[in-house]
């Protein structure tokens, strides 16, 4: 936001300032986030996001836990995109250990990551509607999300914390008939995606509340370190799947949806269009799934990585999810750092909310799509 833009938004009438706590138990903060808002009439003059309510110290925990245990911990960062967390930790560790991953496992990983992206974006789609008073979308989104979670349950037994992507591959092969069920879901889901546009995306009330609200320029978005659909909604083409293709992403054709002006609606619609692209990727994976083993060799029960440092990053559902892994030859990491996209995306609120109306706070907060488990780690 430029100086002049903030100047214009300042209220013309002077009134008393009031301090309002938004959260930590507000339903639309999607977890335990507190924002201390100082308001003047209806306009926000100061916003202080306060995080840490869900801090579990996973980086400290990892220091004395084995690599296999760390995969389990990773599920708990961003619990809506747990496959991505498993994936990025395994990628960093595999880089250090130098293990080969079988071809089939690579494809299964991509399949799961994209299904998980759909599940995560569906939750955003549903709850963002609720935040803005549209309840119907939520029911639709959760019906479809449940189908994805059922698919995951059949594969690995868990609905949210999968622990499916393991060092050197995946936990086990797909169960019988799973591919058909996945195909059935895709056929069903593609029709629903069209419904979503008529249901919410181009709903006039929804457009009024999001179209010209919370605009972030590409320069600001980059400067604040935004990533994922948030950054792309501002028109910056930055997607780790294209930037540094990992696993077997370079074999599939897909587009990276970009927004125009970086408004709340653009961020919302980027995610909806990403679901279309995820479906496209999944169809390609299902079409050319190679046969073979799903778990590579060369990882011990208590693995030790050679001393060294590695950084791995993937495009999680919320953005650029990175892991810095430092090993000193022990059976647990010497230092594990999680570059959590939600944590970085959230900090812009302190500048972005200033000058906005009180009623737009939820629209802006919802559009950034944070998961507090990942913010606090």
């Amino acid at each position: 936001m430029t100086e002049s833009a903030t100047e214009e938004k300042k209220p013309k009438l002077k009134s008393d300032q009031m301090f309002v706590n938004l959260g930590p138990q507000h339903p639309s903060t999607h977890g335990v986030l507190r924002i201390g808002l100082t308001i003047e009439g209806e306009i926000i003059v100061k916003a202080e996001p306060d995080i840490g309510y869900l801090h579990r110290g996973t980086e400290k925990l990892a220091e004395i836990r084995g690599y296999h245990h760390c995969v389990v911990i990773s599920d708990r960062w961003d619990y809506l995109n747990a496959m991505g967390n498993n994936m990025v930790f395994c990628m960093a560790t595999e880089k250090l250990m130098g293990v080969e991953i079988p071809e089939r496992a690579q494809h299964l990983r991509v399949l799961m990551l994209e299904l998980n992206r759909i599940a995560s974006h569906l939750l955003f789609f549903g709850t963002y509607g609720i935040d803005l008073g549209a309840f119907t979308a939520f029911l639709h989104a959760f019906r479809e999300r449940e189908m994805v979670l059922d698919l995951f349950e059949k594969v690995c037994g868990a609905r949210m914390t999968y622990n499916y992507i393991r060092l050197a591959g995946v936990m086990k092969d797909l169960p019988k008939d799973w591919l058909n069920e996945c195909q059935e879901f895709l056929t069903f889901f593609k029709e629903r995606l069209v419904d979503y546009d008529t249901l919410l995306s181009f709903n006039p009330i929804f457009l009024d509340r999001t179209k010209k609200v919370g605009i972030v320029s590409a320069k600001d978005a980059l400067d604040w370190g935004w990533s994922g659909p948030n950054l792309r909604a501002s028109g910056v083409d930055y997607d780790m799947r294209k930037f540094e293709p990992y696993s077997s992403y370079d074999k599939y054709e897909f587009e990276v949806p970009l927004g125009k002006d970086g408004s709340c609606w653009d961020r919302y619609y980027c995610r909806v269009r990403e679901m279309h692209q995820s479906v496209r990727i999944i169809e390609q994976v299902l079409g050319g799934l190679p046969e073979g083993p799903t778990l590579g060799r060369g990882v011990a029960k208590v693995p030790k990585a050679k001393p060294g440092e590695a950084y791995a990053a993937i495009e999680g559902a919320r953005g650029d999810l990175g892991i810095l892994l430092v090993s000193d030859g022990n059976s647990s990491p010497y230092r594990l750092h999680v570059r959590a996209p939600s944590f970085v995306n959230l900090q812009i609120l302190q500048e972005m909310l200033v000058g906005q109306k009180m009623s737009d706070v939820i629209a802006i907060l919802g559009s950034i799509d944070i998961v507090l488990g990942e913010v606090d780690r």
Binding site: I51, E59, L96, D328, N330, S331
Partner: protein, 203 residues
């Protein structure tokens, strides 16, 4: 100026021209542990005061406008188990009275343990699809670094996180307060010599 064709070698040459004191970390000497970030150009800066000029030069002249990651590593040595209050992996099948099988991490002879924090910055050039890692050491006692906020606004919370977990201060930071750990927690948990002091939530 477009930086689309920039690659690792060209960037390293530009570094040698502009900041000759910064050395690129290449393959380690015989028997030593590698300290470069695998696959990325890793530059070891000569002094902590270099970081802001380097970040600004990278951003203004070479298009590295995206601060990807900023964090720190404590190189004091393997963490000690008595810093934790709970057993890391309780073995429920262990008979009563047996000693718990928790492995104390041991120092490795090839790793360069030292009395220092190492700060790690990763900046990206989105056009050239290139990332560069910047590293430098600061002393463990009373070390401080200049804040990167004037160059990358997004450094704000990441510096607060480093301050909270390591106790490294960032001079010039407008709001350097705890961010993740609760107010009553004493100490900086990611320091290798951190000892947890029991509080009312531990029992």
């Amino acid at each position: 100026m477009t930086t689309k064709n920039l690659d690792k070698e060209a960037l390293q040459a530009k570094f040698a021209e502009k900041f000759p004191k910064a050395e690129a970390i290449g393959e380690p000497a015989e028997g030593a542990a590698p300290t470069n970030l695998k696959g990325y150009l890793t530059m070891k800066l000569a002094a902590s005061s270099d970081i802001i000029p380097v970040l600004r030069w990278l951003k203004d002249d070479l298009g590295f406008s995206y601060l990807d990651m900023a964090t720190a590593i404590d190189w004091k040595g393997p963490v000690e188990l008595d810093g934790y209050i709970r057993e890391p992996n309780p073995n429920v099948f262990l008979p009563d009275g047996a000693t718990p099988q928790v492995a104390q991490p041991l120092p490795h002879k090839t790793v360069n343990y030292r009395d220092a924090f190492e700060l790690v910055y990763l900046v990206s050039n989105l056009e050239a699809r290139l990332k560069v890692c910047l590293k430098f050491d600061i002393p463990r006692d009373g070390g401080s670094v200049e804040t990167a906020i004037p160059v990358h606004r997004g450094a704000d919370w990441r510096e607060r996180e480093i301050f909270d977990l390591f106790g490294i201060t960032f001079t010039g930071h407008p709001n350097l307060i705890k961010i993740l750990t609760p107010d009553f927690l004493i100490g900086h948990p990611l320091r290798k010599d951190y000892k947890h002091i029991k509080d009312r939530f531990d029992d």
